[in-house]
């Protein structure tokens, strides 16, 4: 209940600034361009595909790449959204309003997390309108489409949790943004070093798990990875906030 109060205010605040609108507009524009070129490409190779049995369909060749591209754009954007959540409150000393109200630290962190997550779901909704528009001219593999949505939601929540944690550590919003961008990018490409098959690095890499889900392969390993990631960084954020009270 308290989390929802905080989330509501955060979300409204987000839309008071031009940042939210800019992000919505820019992502939509870039992804629409990518989507159209992907559709174009699909149309050009469609005649060749007809002859091949079990050839990849429009969901594999248009929808999944679209969401893959969206993930990279989110990697750039989410740090900008999360950077201010906690570090700004600490800088402006408004955090003491939350600390002296009858609210627990976890409610504060979850409230902030939910606000950004709802905003990200709005982005996801507007992205998924593009593949859905294909329904007017053909068929989509709805199972795969839903798997893509699940993958995106989990990925967004993970990026969000990590960004929130960086914002809890950093004293300045920009530092939080740079740190979360760096951490996300590293986690994204960390399996490059494991090209000769390091199982650990492959497991750590966000991209591996994301791509499995994007292909329509929903396994508990991947879903659990994301849930662990989210819960882990949220609890770290709570711990970090608690440290403010204990500061030595």
């Amino acid at each position: 209940m308290n989390s929802l109060t905080i989330a509501g205010r955060e979300l409204r605040n987000l839309f008071l600034s031009p940042l939210a609108w800019t992000i919505l507009g820019v992502t939509q524009l870039i992804l629409a361009y990518m989507f159209l070129s992907q559709v174009d490409y699909y149309l050009s190779i469609q005649p060749k595909l007809v002859g091949i049995p079990g050839a990849p369909g429009v969901t594999d060749l248009v929808v999944a790449p679209l969401f893959g591209n969206a993930a990279v754009i989110l990697l750039l954007i989410i740090p900008l959204l999360t950077m201010r959540t906690i570090s700004d409150e600490r800088r402006n000393k408004t955090i003491s309003l939350l600390l002296s109200a009858p609210i627990s630290l976890s409610e504060i962190v979850i409230g902030k997390f939910l606000a950004i997550f709802v905003f990200l779901l709005i982005i996801l909704l507007s992205i998924s309108l593009m593949p859905l528009s294909l329904l007017t001219v053909g068929n989509l593999d709805l199972g795969k489409f839903l798997a893509c949505l699940l993958a995106m939601a989990l990925l967004m929540a993970s990026f969000n949790a990590l960004g929130l944690y960086m914002s809890a550590i950093a004293s300045q919003p920009t530092v939080a943004a740079v740190a979360s961008f760096g951490a996300l990018l590293l986690l994204w490409i960390i399996d490059w070093a494991g090209s000769n098959g390091s199982a650990l690095l492959e497991y750590i890499s966000i991209m591996r798990h994301f791509e499995n889900l994007l292909r329509g392969l929903i396994s508990t390993v991947d879903v659990f990875y994301f849930i662990l990631f989210i819960v882990g960084f949220l609890s770290l954020s709570i711990r970090r906030l608690d440290n403010d009270r204990l500061q030595k």
Partner: protein, 310 residues
């Protein structure tokens, strides 16, 4: 009398620096406690600990019987806190901000509207509801901060330097407000403006280098402030031995131009005896004036007393 705040053996360590050292006090319902001290004495640290923004190194704090560490939610529900920098979201309007605060304190929908209206009215913000907080003057922002602290009708109100940045008229209004709040709530007020304490508080505490060095009711304080010396001036040079021989006189100090400071035991009056003596001896009494210690005097003597410097 029910005790609303109980602080026992509170200490706070920052590295090697002991900001608050073994402070204990309690506050009853209907009392206004003035918390005094020079900069860096540990006032804000103590207040932050009482409000749960900082956890103590040792000691316990109870708000209306609830321990701030064991039952933080129940304890914080009884608290209204205005930190030294008012925690305001500058991109909200006064109404939006106050109703957000009311929601954070778990007020119900119906009560929110009421308490916001009442809070604004008490702090003189009734016409400011639609203004953005960023566009308000410092004084008005301070008022929003106070409104935020009293909004949910808490039993304990803690104000850290509430009159900073206000003009003299607003200061008077805020003092009046604090006195009024003191009737139904317990108020702790920190300040370094001494007359403010005399006007609005029923009890005074002075904290210095983390230690509580004075804890007096305002009556006890005026006792301390009452004179224990007289200033006299004579036309003729007096025989100091005769004055010294009077009962209760503890010392005489010669000042310039035939003026003397005569110290005496506290609570005794010797002016009459001196006047009779001076008339009988024909010293030509020109001036006889009990010396009054003001708050500043007491404050300085306590905070600069070498015995308090360890």
């Amino acid at each position: 009398m029910n005790t609303l705040i109980e602080v026992n053996n509170l200490s706070r360590q920052f590295g090697h620096h002991r900001a608050v050292d073994n402070v204990s006090f309690s506050l009853n319902k209907g009392e206004v406690l003035g918390f005094l001290g020079p900069n860096g004495a540990g006032k804000s640290t103590t207040m932050k600990m009482i409000c749960g923004n900082l956890s103590p190194t040792a000691g316990e704090i109870k708000i209306n019987g609830y321990d701030i560490l064991d039952q933080p939610k129940l304890a914080k529900a009884e608290l209204g806190f205005l930190p030294d920098i008012p925690p305001l979201y500058s991109d909200l309007t006064v109404d939006e901000f106050l109703s957000y605060c009311a929601k954070l304190h778990g007020l119900r929908k119906k009560a929110i509207q009421q308490s916001v209206t009442r809070g604004k009215q008490k702090c003189g913000l009734s016409d400011m509801g639609n203004r953005l907080i960023a566009n308000l003057s410092k004084g008005y922002q301070q008022r929003v901060g106070i409104a935020q602290a009293i909004l949910h009708n808490p039993s304990v109100i803690i104000l850290d330097e509430p009159t900073v940045g206000l003009d003299p008229i607003q200061i008077l209004e805020i003092r009046e407000l604090i006195r009024e709040l003191g009737k139904e709530h317990s108020v702790i007020l920190s300040t370094h403006i001494l007359p403010e304490v005399q006007h609005s508080c029923s009890r005074v505490q002075i904290i210095h280098r983390g230690k509580l060095v004075l804890n007096e009711s305002i009556d006890g304080l005026s006792q301390l402030m009452s004179s224990s010396s007289l200033l006299v001036r004579f036309g003729q040079p007096p025989e100091l031995d005769l004055i010294q021989a009077l009962e209760h006189v503890t010392g005489i100090e010669a000042l310039e131009q035939q003026q003397y400071r005569i110290s005496h035991h506290q609570g005794s009056t010797i002016s009459e005896h001196i006047a009779i003596l001076a008339v009988n001896q024909q010293w030509g009494l020109l001036e006889l004036m009990p010396e009054k210690h003001d708050m500043e005097h007491i404050f300085l003597s306590i905070t600069q007393d070498p015995s308090n410097h360890e």
